[in-house]
C-alpha cells in the first residue's frame, strides 16, 4: 500500500489519483498495524517476520538451549520431541500448502525462521531441522502425489515424523550422478539395494527421501526420489558416525538389502529424481547462508565481550588494533554475506532461478564462518581451546559448512559451469 501511494503521488492523472488515494489511505489506516514500523526492518523482512522470529526465539530460549550442552554430550538430540514442539507451533511447514498443514507463506518467512534458528547454541540442531524443512521435503511438496504428501509431507510438517535425506553414498558425495543404489522394478514394487552415507537424522528418522537409480539411461535422467519408510525390512542403520563437530546431530550409515516399496512412492516423474534434487539444492544452499548469519555475529560479539574483559600486558586484548580492526573487517564481510543471502531470498521469492547466487552464498558462507571461528578462537587464547566456552564448539561445528551440503569445490564448479569456463564443455 505504501509503495502504491508513492507511485500515485507522482502520477499526473488527478482523477484516478483522488479515487485511489482515498481507498489506499483507508487501507493504510486499517492496516496501521503493519505500516507504521516497516522502516525499522531489513530489506526482506517486515513486522510480521519479526513477530515470527520473536515467537521462535522464546521457544529456543526455553525449550532447546537449556538442553544443548546435555545433548552435545550425549551426541544426540531428541528429534521427535524437538520437531513435534516446532511442528505444533507451525515452524516446520512455513511455505508448504495449507492442505498438508503448512502455512503457505512466501519464502521470506522461511528465511526469517532459518535465520532465527542460528540462535540455537550449536550447529547440529539447526542443521537437523533444516534437513526436515528444506532438504528432505521441497521436492515432495512440489512434485509428490496427494497420497505421498498425506503420508509423508503432512506428518513431517506437524513434527510427528522425522525425515532424512538419502543422497550421499560411501562412493558418491560431491558426484551425485555416480550413486550406485538401485531400485529395480518388481511388478508394482521397487526393490532397493545399496546404501547411503552421512545421513543426518539417520538413526531417528521415520522416512527417507531416497535418491536411487530406477531406469536405464544417462546418469542425469535415470534416477528417482523415493519416499522410503525407515522401518521397511531390509533397511539397516549400520552405524552412528562419530564426527569432529555437530555432535548433537546423529549421522548414520545406512544399508538397503532387498528393500521393497511400492512404485507409488516415487516422487513425481520416474527418472526425474536428479533434476528434482538439483532444485532442492537451491533452497539447501540459501539455507546454509542464512543459518550462518547469527552464529557469525554471535562469535564476533562474544569475542568482543571476552577481549574487553581479558587483559594482557596491562590492557584489554580488544585494545590492540589488530584485534578490533580484524573484528571490524569480519563484521564488514558478514554484512556482505547477509546482502547476498537476502538478495537470493528476494529473487527466489519472486520466482527466479537463483542457482548461481545460491551457490555463491553457500561458498562464501562456508569460507567466512571458518575464517570467523578461526580468528575469534585465536583471540580467546587458551580459554577458547576449552569445552568451557562456546567458541570451541563453534569452531568444530562450523568447519562442516565448507564440506557438507555441497563442498566449496562443487560450488566453484557450478559457478564455472554457469560462467561457461569449464574445459571441454564450453558451449557457443
Amino acid at each position: 500500500a505504501v509503495n502504491t501511494l508513492r507511485v500515485l503521488r507522482a502520477s499526473p492523472s488527478l482523477v484516478i489519483k483522488r479515487q485511489f488515494m482515498t481507498s489506499i489511505s483507508l487501507l493504510q489506516s486499517k492496516h496501521q498495524l503493519t505500516q507504521s514500523s516497516e522502516e525499522n526492518y531489513d530489506i526482506i523482512y517486515g513486522p510480521d517476520h519479526q513477530q515470527l522470529r520473536d515467537s521462535l526465539r522464546k521457544l529456543i530460549d526455553k525449550e532447546i538451549n537449556p538442553y544443548v550442552d546435555e545433548w552435545e554430550q550425549q551426541q544426540r538430540f531428541p528429534a521427535h520431541i524437538v520437531f513435534k514442539l516446532l511442528g505444533d507451533n507451525g515452524f516446520l511447514g512455513i511455505t508448504r500448502p495449507k492442505a498438508y498443514g503448512g502455512l503457505e507463506l512466501d519464502y521470506t518467512y522461511s528465511a526469517a525462521v532459518t535465520e532465527e534458528l542460528g540462535n540455537i547454541n550449536c550447529g547440529g540442531i539447526p542443521m537437523a531441522i533444516g534437513v526436515q524443512t528444506d532438504m528432505a521435503t521441497p521436492a515432495l511438496a512440489k512434485f509428490g502425489s496427494d497420497y505421498l504428501k498425506k503420508e509423508f509431507l503432512a506428518p513431517s510438517i506437524s513434527g510427528d515424523r522425522v525425515a532424512c535425506l538419502g543422497v550421499s553414498e560411501v562412493g558418491s558425495g560431491s558426484d551425485v550422478a555416480s550413486i550406485q543404489t538401485r531400485a529395480s522394478r518388481k511388478g508394482d514394487d521397487l526393490i532397493i539395494n545399496g546404501g547411503k552415507m552421512w545421513i543426518t537424522n539417520g538413526t531417528q528418522a521415520d522416512w527417507m527421501c531416497c535418491l536411487a537409480n530406477t531406469n536405464e539411461g544417462k546418469p542425469h535422467v535415470n534416477k528417482s526420489l523415493i519416499c522410503l519408510p525407515m522401518n521397511t525390512p531390509g533397511v539397516t542403520v549400520a552405524k552412528e558416525i562419530k564426527k569432529l563437530g555437530m555432535w548433537s546431530s546423529d549421522t548414520a550409515q545406512i544399508f538397503f538389502e532387498d528393500v521393497q516399496v511400492p512404485r507409488s512412492h516415487i516422487i513425481g516423474e520416474e527418472g526425474q529424481g536428479f533434476s528434482y534434487q538439483m532444485l532442492q539444492f537451491q533452497e539447501e544452499r540459501i539455507f546454509a547462508a542464512l543459518s550462518a548469519l547469527v552464529p557469525i555475529e554471535k562469535m564476533i560479539t562474544e569475542t568482543i565481550n571476552y577481549t574487553k574483559e581479558r587483559k594482557i600486558f596491562g590492557q584489554p586484548i580488544l585494545s590492540n588494533q589488530v584485534v578490533h580492526f580484524t573484528l571490524a573487517e569480519l563484521t564488514a564481510e558478514l554484512e556482505l554475506l547477509r546482502s547476498a543471502a537476502y538478495r537470493a531470498v528476494a529473487l527466489y521469492t519472486k520466482g527466479q532461478d537463483v542457482m548461481k547466487l545460491a551457490s555463491i552464498c553457500k561458498l562464501k558462507s562456508g569460507r567466512l564462518i571458518r575464517e570467523v571461528s578461526d580468528k575469534c578462537l585465536q583471540y580467546w587464547g587458551g580459554m577458547g581451546f576449552t569445552e568451557e566456552v562456546m567458541i570451541s564448539r563453534s569452531y568444530r561445528d562450523y568447519r562442516l559448512v565448507s564440506i557438507g551440503g555441497g563442498a566449496d569445490e562443487v560450488m566453484l564448479s557450478i559457478i564455472c559451469k554457469l560462467m561457461n569456463t569449464l574445459p571441454g564443455s564450453r558451449k557457443q
Binding site: S37, Q51, D54, S55, N89, G90, L103
Partner: protein, 257 residues
C-alpha cells in the same frame, strides 16, 4: 454463567533478558533499539484469560495497551495468544515517560465500563517500574472487588475462587463478579504464539484510541529528577577479631567513640 467478558491489560516493557543501561543524561534508561516485549506477568494474565475462554467460562477477550505506536506489537502477541480484540490507547513517547499507574488505571476502568466487561485482569506488576498499583487502582475506581497476586483461579457459581500468594503463604478468597484480579508468577505458563495463530491474529480487530476518548487527563503529575545506577558495592575487608571490628567502626565514625 457462560459469556463472561474479560479485559486484559498488557504493558510493553524492556525484555527481561536485556541488560539495562542508564542514559548518560540520567533522565531514564536507554530504550532506543533495545528489545522490548510484553510484561511477563501480563503474558500470564493473557494466558489465564485464554484458558478461561477454552473452558468456556469467558466468551470474549479484549486486550488493551497504553503507550506509543510500538505497543501494537504487544497487542499483536496477545491476539496471537488468543485474545479476540485489541485496543491501543495511543500516548506519545514524551507523555509516556511520565505516565503513571493512576492514569492507566483510569483509562482501563473507563474501557471496562464502556465494554461492559465482567473481569479485568493485569499482571501483578510491570518489570520496569515494579509499581504493583494498576490492578488495585482499577478496582478502587470501579468499586469492584479485587484478588491480587492470584496463583490459582476457579469459577464457582456467580463467583471466582482465587488462591493468592501472600507473605504468610497462600490465601484463598471468594470474589463476586464483576471483579479485578492480578496474576502472579505461578498462575500458569504462557503458551507460545504459534505461527498459524500469528497469521490469524492479523485479521482480528485492533482499534486505536487516545486518552481523551476516555476523558482521562494524562498530564504529568510528577517529574523524574534523575535516574542512576545503584551505587557500586564497595569491597569489604576481612578482620581478625571483634575488637578490630569495633576499632574500625569507631574510626569510620559509624559508632560513637
Amino acid at each position: 454463567m457462560s459469556g463472561l467478558r474479560i479485559l486484559v491489560g498488557c504493558k510493553r516493557v524492556i525484555d527481561y533478558a536485556v541488560k539495562i543501561r542508564v542514559k548518560p543524561d540520567k533522565t531514564g534508561v536507554v530504550t532506543d533499539g533495545v528489545k522490548h516485549s510484553m510484561n511477563p506477568f501480563d503474558e500470564i494474565a493473557v494466558e489465564e484469560a485464554v484458558r478461561m475462554k477454552e473452558k468456556k467460562i469467558v466468551s470474549e477477550i479484549v486486550a488493551v495497551s497504553c503507550g506509543p505506536t510500538q505497543c501494537q506489537e504487544v497487542l499483536r502477541t496477545a491476539l496471537a495468544m488468543g485474545a479476540d480484540r485489541a485496543i491501543h490507547v495511543e500516548v506519545d513517547a514524551a507523555t509516556y515517560e511520565n505516565l503513571q499507574p493512576l492514569h492507566v488505571a483510569k483509562i482501563i476502568a473507563k474501557i471496562a465500563q464502556e465494554e461492559k466487561v465482567d473481569i479485568v485482569v493485569t499482571g501483578k506488576q510491570a518489570i520496569d517500574d515494579d509499581a504493583n498499583q494498576t490492578g488495585q487502582m482499577v478496582a478502587a475506581l470501579l468499586n469492584w472487588p479485587q484478588a491480587t497476586f492470584a496463583s490459582k483461579i476457579e469459577k464457582t457459581d456467580g463467583e471466582l475462587k482465587v488462591e493468592r500468594e501472600i507473605d504468610g503463604g497462600l490465601e484463598t478468597i471468594k470474589v463476586k463478579l464483576p471483579a479485578v484480579f492480578t496474576s502472579d508468577l505461578r498462575l500458569n505458563e504462557p503458551r507460545y504464539a504459534t505461527l498459524p495463530n500469528i497469521m490469524k491474529a492479523k485479521k482480528k480487530p485492533l482499534v486505536k484510541k487516545t486518552p481523551t476518548d476516555f476523558g482521562v487527563d494524562v498530564t504529568a503529575r510528577q517529574t523524574i529528577l534523575k535516574v542512576e545506577e545503584p551505587a557500586v558495592r564497595q569491597a569489604g575487608s576481612k578482620l581478625a577479631s571483634a575488637e578490630e571490628l569495633v576499632t574500625k567502626l569507631r574510626e569510620a565514625g559509624l559508632i560513637p567513640s
